[in-house]
Symmetry: C2
Subunit: 204 residues, 2 copies
């Protein structure tokens, strides 16, 4: 309940954390071996060496399990492009996302995440942790652009990042319009130009 | 099979179209009367005066049914802001979306739509029709900005529209960051400034 210790009940340490790590590891191993279609909570439990009721209690279904596993891993491996300019860094960020979305398992987990309205569910919590980490890591490219003097004044890094990847997610999840590298390039051009114009000391 | 007659089997005319209209109408009436939680395919069928098997065959579950009903209606009533400037039109577009998303039924249908990977499902088809109509109607605000001379050269209207609303959808469906009118304003400022800069005869 004190602000300093974040969500103490999510940090049971010891056995529970080991079980979680083993189950998530087993999930990746099963995904690689049998794929999304054949993956089952029973098989994952067996592979992780835990009771299947333990797995069912925490994750309920395979989409939740896969989503949490992917969010967990993705948080450790967010790439941050460093190509020398804000525009090309943002374009690379978009293209990296598009490349990742070609993986059916990533698309499936994103769709599952988008379907969950309950903000308190374990999956929603894992999702928020992932995006928090993502913004922190990807935010470095905005910091570098500022340090290079590409932006006249500080801009909200979240705004630029979300403007770059949000439309790609929108097309994937809702409008079903084409998503390709050209779209990522044009978005990055728009966002970088907008950031330049709006960060100018005396705009317009 | 000929390119000129689009999806002939989706145009059975007559009875099938009347049944569909009656069922979608009954869906709204039920939503208004009993809400999302209590809505059922049986009740909707009864209200529409059709056999429940007819409803089950076409829609399978209530999320599909509600989604198709909302997409159908939304396509007829897309508001196109006309405030006098590109930036404030885009801001209004974002704020209208945010206001709509406060309706739990709209949020629920969007999440259901986002969860469906099968591009051939009736819901996915209805979703594409909706977004096609939406882009067409909302595109008018870009046309007006061009006619007013706000944009030096033609820009892709889809790009500007998706850059304005995509990040709002991204925050709702994935990152769970705050969505408010201020976010819509700042996005519109970024996109309008970027459009101005990138449409300039000789950019940067």
């Amino acid at each position: 309940m004190t602000p300093k210790t974040q969500s103490p009940r999510k940090r049971p340490g010891g056995r529970s954390a080991r079980v979680r790590a083993a189950v998530l590891e087993a999930t990746f191993a099963e995904l690689a071996d049998v794929g999304y279609g054949q993956l089952s909570l029973e098989r994952v439990a067996e592979r992780a060496g835990v009771h299947k009721t333990t797995v069912y209690r925490r994750w309920q279904n395979k989409d939740s399990l896969i989503l949490e596993a992917m969010l967990d891993r993705a948080g450790e491996t967010v790439p941050t492009p460093d190509t020398g300019s804000l525009r090309s860094d943002l374009a690379q960020l978009g293209k990296d996302l598009i490349a990742n979305l070609r993986d059916p398992a990533i698309e499936a987990t994103a769709r599952t995440g988008a379907s969950i309205a309950d903000r308190d569910s374990p999956v929603a919590q894992a999702s928020r942790r992932f995006w928090h980490t993502w913004h922190e890591l990807a935010g470095e490219l905005i910091d570098r652009a500022t340090a290079r003097g590409e932006l006249a004044a500080p801009v909200d890094p979240h705004l630029l990042l979300d403007a770059t990847i949000g439309p790609i997610w929108f097309r994937l999840l809702l409008s079903d319009e084409p998503i390709d590298d050209d779209f990522a390039e044009r978005l990055a051009e728009l966002v970088a130009a907008g950031a330049n114009a709006t960060s100018a000391p005396e705009g317009s």
